[in-house]
Symmetry: C2
């Protein structure tokens, strides 16, 4: 009987043995074991448990609002007006927010945020994005039909990789990524069963991208796979460097020569803090290299509502601009996007505000500008402070945080601690970060989750806590690190 | 030189030849060629072009607000309050909306909708969903830790399939789906390179699911693949049937016997129109079959903000409940979800309102209830009307629209028209629908996009247009069909 058969072979359909092995291979450190542990400690404290600290400080993820950053008023006004259009009659909402909301709603089916948009996004928002890009890039043309709204940048990155990574012979498609990298890339590569081709950023040179290292990685990879795409994160995550124009030129020349698709993750384009650094978009640099390059290199660049000065992660807004894509492939891209119907409309509306902010002659300009400057100014201060305090700790070395939202300091872990970690079957920096969490309540992510040169150890921390909390955090890191070194007898 | 090499082999990196063939294989009729054509005609009319009609009526997609359905006020109030919490001070928002918004925000990092939530969703919303399911299923227990918020139901369905469909030997994983089906399923199967195992619904019996057909399909599939999962859509899309309790029992018994994972797509659970039909959740039926079943069959069921009486497609809200999943696999599921960070927060908030609507003692109850009844009452009227008018046309036969939002009438296409279509390299029902579009401006989707028995032809139309517009639409379909039959000499 069925019940007899069932009992004989009592086994689930979906087990660790039958699970898609590519899912098993995925790692995502930013929300990995250490973050799960942090959540458990938080619960334990809430329930009255005691620890040597009263609070867990989560510096593991670029989640600005969770760390107390306030939303930009104008952005929220526009989204609220779109959500509940009866507010159009309310005198407490400014006209400049109202006309933006009206315009967005006119682009929506039934004038409602509840309709599906076209799969690439609401047409007027795509046009606003193209206009923004043209202005940002000082006149380099942008065609709105090359703009695709996305569900955060991650969604766009996964979609483009999905086109490039062939199923059947996927184990032969090479995807070049920086090391250290944001682990979305390695996770997507695992999920799609592509070959991860590492190129190492130069820690001794402020995490700059070294073109010789690109060639080395490419040549080595060609022996066992077909590298088809190069991913760049600029400003860097987790490394915080801002790429020079010269370096971008070199990367683009390399991609042109070797016929690689270029994916440039530019979600931190508004997060540049060091006065002698400037954000250069890959597209603008490509344009300036001349039509031979600008009309041929296939480039997808990504932006998001989650970072910058807005930090609207929860809206899952973003876009990608794709140039030089084969028109037939473009039709396939649209088809693939259409299966998931459309990105969330509130996120699309939020994206529209970012690319179409209040202008100097508009009512909301002053407040918007103050809020924006205040967020970016505070981030610049915290970037500097983080670098300074960390570099004053013996056994910690931190490159300048030129941009983005993270410090990625190198930490010296004494050989005895390395041994102890290995005996526990743990990466040494995981061991370090777990101890840091257990003893101080500070949650940072081990460098091994992002990749690093063998024998070097790092952690990633965000610079998002308030300046007061950040000082507490950095002080605790310093004290912990010194006592950790002492414990393992690396300081006399 | 590089430039020379480039010119010699002037070829893009990403072409139709190098594109991931699994992407190429994806089809998604709901936004397919006929819908693209409809968009072109719309543009043409806007620009002053003339056609035998003045307006394109899009009945191709379940996009309620685009067809004029009004949002539920209370839902939008709660989401607007979450988006712009300064509205908490506004006397024009009711207290019951405010306390819900406050409660949601308390579950968000920094009390902001702009924070990432935990990857499975905001905890209090997961709890509200579990409470809703328990109430819906008359006491059958629901554990909030089995609830995962999703980006629309599609996202959840893709995620569960991703776990089940193994990469390397994916060509061996069988996924059983109904025919006709909602093409998300076939698209996902193509993208993941699984084997589509068709079981045919019984058109002569109101599209009921016939258990013997399930066994037939399963046995046939076992000869060339390993069927691991069965998908059911109830109420049916595109077919509109509501499954009987007995039929659900049979499916669950079959899954239990053959050790299949069950995916039950229940996004139309609130859309039941025929008085003698009732929605039974797969989970409740499983419970009533006894602990032997309830504690073993692996079941994922899906819901959404996009359908029901809210029709909030643009919010991309949804959830899945997953029971009897192996705990280790569950950890893998959470890891996979975490790579995409979290579902959009506005969609999560919208989902919360659906599962936690105003109660009889609350201020907003009356208006909420009126709006809900009005939407569902109109849909029931339109379901009836559609069936009646279509069945009065010679050569069209339409099963009762018991639930969901679509009619899927069978259309007789005369042999001469079939020949003409084939000469054009076109499916006969595509030929029919294109003619319908060109001559009347009505956009419906050919049955071939959903699957149908060989030699039968259908189209799917939504019942979402207003009753006035629906009458116009149905009248035009009738006139077109009669003249189509005449043209191809099927009527004397």
């Amino acid at each position: 009987s069925a019940s007899y058969r069932r009992n004989m072979f009592l086994k689930k359909t979906l087990t660790m043995d039958t699970l898609n092995p590519q899912v098993k291979a995925v790692e995502y450190a930013v929300r990995g074991p250490i973050v799960i542990k942090a959540g458990e400690i938080e619960k334990y404290l809430e329930e009255g448990g005691t620890k040597p600290f009263s609070e867990v400080i989560k510096a593991n993820i670029g989640d600005a609002h969770a760390m107390g950053q306030q939303p930009i008023t104008f952005l929220r006004q526009v989204v609220a007006l779109c959500t509940f259009p009866e507010l159009m009659d309310s005198p407490s909402f400014p006209e400049d927010a109202k006309w933006r909301a009206r315009r967005i709603l006119q682009g929506c089916g039934g004038h409602s945020l509840g309709s599906y948009s076209a799969s690439p996004g609401v047409e007027c928002i795509r046009k606003d994005i193209a206009a923004y890009i043209e202005q940002r890039d000082e006149g380099v043309p942008s065609d709105w039909e090359n703009i695709y709204l996305t569900t955060g940048a991650s969604d766009g990155i996964m979609t483009i990789l999905r086109l490039l990574v062939s199923g059947k012979d996927s184990s032969r498609t090479g995807v070049m990524i920086p090391i250290p990298q944001y682990p979305l890339y390695s996770a997507a590569i695992s999920e799609m069963d592509a070959v991860q081709v590492n190129y190492y950023l130069d820690e001794d040179n402020c995490w700059a991208l070294d073109i010789n290292e690109l060639y080395r990685a490419y040549q080595a990879a060609k022996l066992h796979c077909q590298p088809k795409v190069i991913c760049i994160i600029n400003p860097g995550n987790p490394t915080g460097q801002v790429q020079s124009k010269k370096c971008i030129e070199e990367v683009l020349h390399f991609a042109y020569e070797e016929n690689l698709f270029v994916m440039s993750d530019e979600v931190y384009q508004d997060n540049v803090y060091t006065p002698d650094c400037q954000f250069h978009s890959f597209k603008k640099v490509l344009y300036e290299m001349g039509p031979e390059y600008f009309n041929s290199v296939e480039l997808a660049s990504f932006h998001s509502t989650s970072k910058g000065y807005t930090g609207e992660c929860g809206f899952r807004g973003g876009y990608m601009e794709v140039i030089n894509m084969d028109p037939e492939v473009k039709a396939q891209l649209v088809k693939l996007l259409s299966v998931r119907l459309c990105p969330p409309l509130a996120g699309q509306a939020a994206m529209d505000v970012i690319v179409n902010p209040p202008q100097p002659d508009e009512h909301s300009y002053k407040q918007f500008h103050q809020e924006k400057s205040s967020v970016l100014g505070a981030l610049a201060d915290k970037a500097k402070l983080t670098e300074q305090i960390l570099n004053a700790v013996p056994g910690i070395k931190c490159n300048p945080v030129q941009g983005a939202m993270y410090a990625f300091p190198r930490i010296f872990i004494p050989p005895k601690a390395v041994e102890e970690a290995k005996a526990l079957g743990m990466q040494p920096d995981m061991f370090y970060c777990l101890r840091l969490l257990e003893e101080t309540g500070i949650c940072v992510v081990p460098g091994s989750g992002f990749g690093q040169k063998d024998g070097t150890y790092h952690f990633r921390m965000t610079i998002l806590p308030s300046i007061e909390k950040l000082k507490v955090l950095l002080g605790k890191v310093r004290d912990f690190h010194i006592s950790f070194l002492k414990e393992y007898s690396a300081l006399e």
